[in-house]
């Protein structure tokens, strides 16, 4: 069904491109040719790899820092009251502003790029994980206290399983948000990566190459979703499906 749906889209695209031939609207076959030539030259895999590394680094950073802050705010009411305005403030700063400021303050380097992307995502993670922490069942914590679970066991067996749906939600929205911001970061201040290449082809008006890069990247993200995220979710919620 998924294949059929995508197939129909490609056919429609092909028909459109044949009816209104234009340099700025290439047919799917041309995009495929560009994709192949860019792949054999090694440009596409290299830039794709660089971008994926940035996505992964920002994602891990944002999830870790955001989760820790979120759990702390969710479990300390006073701290939450104090810091909540900060969270709202950071939630509403446009991504572009954070990126530009990071480049100005920390220079056009990798750390500034990844930091800026992570900073854009952290407030979202904080809000989601704070909700999750508020929804924790205190009775499990009491059970853990009576049976003297150590800190690591509490984290692994009490806290993380209860937060799992919230972690999944934050990751899902996180990946899609982060990879879009990474492209902007690359466009503004990096000399490689998919975002940089797209900017380059924009100046050359090479729409086929832009589409080739975009589709390649989307395909990779789809692959990650199907092969990594969904099976992971499947195993971690195994206990949920069978009810007595």
């Amino acid at each position: 069904m998924v294949l059929l749906s995508f197939g129909a889209l490609v056919v429609a695209w092909h028909l459109g491109a044949t009816i209104w031939p234009s340099r700025s609207f290439p047919a799917p076959l041309l995009v495929l040719q560009t994709f192949i030539s860019e792949t054999t030259s090694g440009d596409l895999p290299y830039n794709l790899g660089i971008t994926l590394c940035r996505v992964a680094a920002s994602f891990v950073l944002a999830m870790l820092i955001g989760s820790v802050i979120g759990v702390l705010l969710g479990s300390h009411r006073r701290a939450d009251e104090f810091f909540n305005p900060w969270v709202i403030l950071f939630l509403n700063i446009p991504a572009l502003v954070i990126i530009v400021l990071a480049y100005i303050w920390f220079g056009l380097n990798e750390a500034a790029a990844i930091g800026a992307v992570a900073l854009n995502k952290i407030p979202n993670v904080v809000v989601t994980m704070r909700e999750g922490t508020r929804a924790l069942d205190p009775r499990y914590a009491e059970m853990a206290q009576v049976y003297r679970f150590n800190a690591l066991d509490r984290l692994r067996h009490i806290l993380i399983p209860q937060l799992q749906p919230y972690i999944a939600a934050a990751s899902r929205s996180g990946i899609s948000l982060i990879w879009k911001i990474v492209l902007v970061v690359e466009l503004l201040g990096r000399s490689n990566g998919v975002g940089f290449q797209i900017n380059l082809f924009f100046q050359l008006f090479d729409v086929a190459a832009i589409l080739a890069y975009t589709l390649a990247f989307v395909a990779v993200m789809l692959f990650i979703e199907l092969v990594v995220v969904q099976p992971l979710e499947h195993t971690s919620t195994r206990w949920r499906r069978s009810a007595a």
Partner: protein, 252 residues
């Protein structure tokens, strides 16, 4: 505020709670416990019996170390750091871990891989070791909770109405199972219940509490070994209990 005496090797459980009060939402205080004093001998099975809402669960929470906002002192049996086997009103198994994982997680790290075959088979859980709690009936989940409490080889066993909301035959089966695992390795045990028949079947001693604020009205010792307590004996015990505490408590 209070002293949580745990030092030294103490054989028995000593409870001496002078006062425990809750703050109500309208700003007043509700006194729950007042001068609650009792002791439980080593390896004795005691039941706390009292009207509902009299503070039985609160007492147990204090003993479990979950509530330290009270005046008085308690002393748990065993070494300085008594190991508590707790069976809560709800089974409180982790839904995302299997029965066996739930039991093993409660055991301190060095002994975590200990052999649990005997315990599981006495409780009839051998086939359910790899089940998730959601796949168990309430009765089976309660058994798993009992297995967890006993697997840690506790210095004291604290049970909070572990047989409520089960049908009578299941509850009775569970009581027999509890007795058989407990007698394999006796330990000081304190069970909260509002079921007099249950107390008479299980206990060496019944501690009768008053209405709120709770204090001990009296003790009812049952020295007869449990295997001599047949229906006739239990009926006699019930009668003499009701004579002793006539009018004090609402008979079940």
């Amino acid at each position: 505020m209070n002293t949580h005496q745990l030092a030294g090797v103490a054989a028995r459980l000593k409870v001496n709670i002078e006062e425990k009060a809750f703050r109500s939402s309208n700003g007043g205080t509700i006194e729950v416990l007042r001068d609650l004093r009792f002791e439980v001998e080593q390896n004795e099975f005691a039941c706390i019996l009292g009207p509902s809402g009299c503070g039985k669960t609160t007492t147990l929470r204090i003993l479990l170390g979950l509530d330290s906002d009270y005046r008085g002192s308690i002393q748990l049996p065993g070494l300085a750091d008594a190991r508590i086997g707790a069976v809560f009103q709800e089974p409180m198994l982790l839904p995302w871990r299997t029965v066996e994982q739930n039991v093993r997680l409660a055991i301190p790290k060095p002994n975590r891989e200990t052999n649990l075959d005997g315990l599981f088979s006495t409780l009839g859980l051998s086939k359910m070791r790899n089940f998730y709690p959601a796949e168990l009936s309430l009765g089976l989940a309660r058994r798993a909770a009992i297995a967890r409490a006993l697997a840690i080889e506790p210095d004291i066993l604290l049970l909070d109405e572990p047989f409520v909301s089960l049908d009578e035959s299941t509850a009775q089966q569970l009581r027999h199972m509890l007795l058989s695992v407990w007698s394999e390795r006796p330990t000081t045990a304190l069970m909260v219940t509002h079921n007099l028949q249950e107390a008479i079947m299980l206990a060496d001693r019944i501690i009768v509490l008053s209405e709120r604020p709770a204090h001990v009205i009296g003790m009812f010792d049952i020295r007869l070994p449990r295997n001599y307590r047949n229906e006739q004996v239990k009926a006699d015990l019930l009668r003499s209990f009701n004579e002793k505490f006539a009018g004090v408590r609402n008979a079940p």
